[in-house]
Assembly symmetry: D3
Homo-oligomer: 234 residues x 6
């Protein structure tokens, strides 16, 4: 089947669901990333255009580790528009990929771009089967299942499904390490954790919660047009 992970910025997908995607890929499924913002603002001290190129390349490197493809929607960080232009753009991506599973941010995530992405994805998945909204690709016969992925340090997030990523933890590490612009950030606060530390702690913590060494956590909200009767997660 086709699996589509949608992140607000380059590195969000790797950080929150990279292990699960690695397991999907290993099982022979086709995996695709969609990245809403270009992340140019997150590479401190680097000119915007160069930052954009750098981060796009980092995404491609990470995705290539598991043989995934990447769609960059190209909005600036904190530049997701209030009108429906990004919604229609994302709708086309979803229809083109034709996924069985979509994974994205939860509405309770504390970052503004993550919240807006969560809303966009929820709306675009709902519209994917609507015949009279024309996009380049045709409307889908069924809505894909939608899973919300974990938040930074799990705050304001109550998972109800877990994926054991013990066997692919090295793959997840390698994917995240592709994001050099992020792993090399130096914070003023000495106790502010690096992106690698956040990932390690989350994987360990979520593992304990479900009785394995490393895990990722998800939330499925039931909806009558999306509820599934078999497990979609690996």
């Amino acid at each position: 089947m086709n699996v589509l992970a949608i992140g607000a910025h380059p590195d969000d997908i790797e950080l929150f669901c990279g292990g699960t995607l690695a397991r999907y890929a290993q099982a022979g499924h086709s995996v695709c990333f969609a990245v809403i913002c270009d992340g140019s603002g997150g590479a401190w001290g680097v000119p915007a255009e160069e930052a954009r190129r750098l981060r796009e390349a980092e995404s491609l490197s990470a995705a290539s580790i598991i043989g995934a493809t990447v769609h960059h929607l190209g909005w600036r960080n904190h530049g997701i528009p209030a009108d429906d232009s990004a919604l229609l753009q994302l709708l086309e991506v979803i229809r083109k990929v034709d996924p069985t599973v979509v994974i994205s941010h939860a509405a309770t995530d504390c970052y503004l771009d993550h919240q807006r992405t969560s809303r966009l994805v929820d709306d675009a998945v709902s519209l994917s089967t609507v015949r009279d909204i024309k996009t380049e690709s045709p409307w889908l016969p069924h809505q894909p299942g939608l899973f919300y992925m974990d938040t930074t340090l799990g705050l304001s997030f109550r998972p109800n499904e877990y994926v054991d990523i013990t066997s692919v933890i090295e793959v997840k590490r390698a994917m995240l390490e592709c994001h050099r612009t992020q792993t090399s950030l130096v914070f003023e606060n000495p106790y502010e954790p690096s992106i690698m530390e956040i990932m390690e702690m989350s994987a360990f913590f979520r593992g304990i919660q479900c009785g394995v060494q490393y895990a990722e956590a998800y939330r499925l909200e039931p909806r009558w047009d999306r509820t599934m009767i078999w497990r979609l997660l690996p």
Copy 2:
């Protein structure tokens, strides 16, 4: 694996999770019923002792259809005691059966006996692995997974998992029809639905919600010592 369904009264198991149990049985799993109250009060106009025998026999008939065994705990309707005697009795049943999955009433169910059963089951499952509470059977190495089953007409219940029971709907009907004392009740209010009507409507309604003809609905609340990383439901 072993599956244990725990109902407050005879017929609750058949009504709310009979189809799922039929599917477990068909898949070769061992199914067991535990019934907390004797239901003697629910056979209107029949003396208590006779009612108790009748309803016990009805349970056994229903269970035998899918090859299940039955434990009757024997409390009177609305007679579940406030002290821990029923808790210890149920704990022994759980340890004896050694289930991988337990199914019982939700705490939000509107019937008093269902609420008390829900609380008993939650506590007994928690205690099943505690070494220093001695019962005849030994403590369990792992807590079983605990699913809450649907409520009457689905009120105050938000499911997050469904089981397709289309292939076993006739088995479910047959199980419920064993409860003659209940299917033959005549209500004063002509619009009060019979137990068979409630079952038919629920199976149809839950089916629509998940895209099949007939379904049963469940809720799994995540807990760190119970959360599972694969689907336990059929």
Copy 3:
């Protein structure tokens, strides 16, 4: 008194509150429909302009059965704008109708247009008494009471009031049957219920919940500027 029902698409009003409106009309109240989207996209295979005309005519037929009038706001399905233009348009409708009761979709409804309509209505009702927002009709002295109507199959909706529609169930059926473009839809999934089946099941199910043969369900959320001390529903 004046009663205003506001639906996202043609047929939503008939489906979710048609029986209640019939009872209001029988009691001599003046009933008005406002329909936000033209529903042109919901008549599969019919050109947009023709579909729009067809569905507008279906609305008028249904409303005429109970002597109601209809305001078509005329936005395309999924075309409710993100700026405040639809809000001001709806505000004028509310002020022109000057209703004591407004009925519309709940915010928890799973359809995107229903959610946006719910938000529009909540905002427009709040603004109806604000003097400095000028519309053609004058500001209202009191906010109307606002009731949320049921969702498809009652999912994610907890009613706190019911209306007995047993005496008008045939009227409700007749109103919904006016929507031929919708009742004639053929779904690929053989278990996907038709709009008439959804209506029948909901009316029966909600009836059981409140002890009558057929009912419609509502939710009133208390607000200090809208709370009422008598029952507004029939």
Copy 4:
């Protein structure tokens, strides 16, 4: 119809729903008080037996103002037993009174006796129609409607219905003033409000919320065996 108000202590009924009861009485309905605890501990410095007699007499005086009768269940403050003896006693009172409406404390009230009373009442109302639980009076054909009354200063309470008590505010004041042991209490904290001040403030505050001079606030939680389709409050 018969109306039964159930308070944890003498004065709770007068404080939280006295105005509503006065309106019921004026409309010709039969009103009954049931008081769970004897309040002997709340008359500081008075020996228990004398306090009990005093407070019982205060209840009777207050009830007589609106022609209501009183059942004293006679438990000590904070002495409601954990087993089912008080439940069966209250069940008999409910069946004897045969009320259409029951009013009692909300489960979210911060006082322990109020919480236990709320639980007792919820359970006893549920059991009132159960045939096989024998009490002196016969089982009821229908469960009465159950309303939760306001809490002290409205904390942790979200009402969804209001009753206008403007016309009976003097009656409410007179009823509460019968409780001399309580109105005469002197607190060490000079800002701790007297029972009369709490009543005045609540009546005024709830009045503003629903647009009248004085009001009392209630919450009705929908339940399938209790939901009503007409307004039971005056």
Copy 5:
């Protein structure tokens, strides 16, 4: 430290957090008001431009009582735009003021402008530390703490912190009385409370709740990038 209160209209700050700001000012902190809308529509019968000037002057008078400065953002009542222009404007104010504490409306407030202001503030505080969103003033090293202030009559608001304003109640009264256009409004409903009555009742009511004569109530929602380990309120 710097304290920034952000209100939807002139007088909201004085009404909901004026006492707390007076205490901050007395303790030597620097206090700033930001007012999103010009309030021109709230001065009934006064031409918009004159109303705007009047209400701006009223704000300045009130702020001057405690030595605070005021930023008027100047949007019309109910004219906060749906795009990000107000967000960026407010972001610049926050960065310019560089506050340790921000106080604004809760998302559960029933007024539309208050809800939109709440959302704007939450977003702007989140963006204050984001380097790549350029405004005239530089990005902040740390997000300020954000407190939600009380709602009108406390509806739909559950405070978790209180500030004793007994010592500054006269200052609060004086600040609110500067808003002559509001204190002089005459309502048609004789029981509709004036702004001064709402303030008095709220201060008294919140005082009782925390054991002092007069108080203001707040809610702090924990967030991982904002949570504090000492008390920021006076």
Copy 6:
């Protein structure tokens, strides 16, 4: 002031609030532990009486590190009685200690003894000021503030206050290490974390959330008779 921490078993206090207690002690406050169950069942393979003595001694060692005293209530694990005998026993402890702050388990904790302890503590704190419930020590003039402490791995717990324990992390480690019967347990599941690992991870994780190296997390639920207007935590 006096601080009273109430744990279900020996080691709960050290694990969940040991650092905070160390800071209280350093600031010169008087700290007391109350332990409801004897923990005899948690020392696997050791006879009950010996286990009881061992664990009691471990508690005393841990408490002595910060100069705290200990009350052992002596119930068996999972043996807290359903009647009010433990409640009255705990009430006497609270009155004897006369604390300004009480810390105990949250009601959402997943362990049965923790839940029962949480309920006991909530009730006993409520009763501490009730004059007519006689215990050996006199009733208290004011209810102490009540904080809920963290749960195992923070599941089902949303803190709203934090305490920086960076300066006392070694003290906390030393206190927990006194519980040799627990630190020496060997689990069959190689990924099941030891009590020391749970503590380290929680302290680190909660530290990140509030911007320090190590922290403990708490939740204060507002109640009108307990709400405070200054910070009670260190």
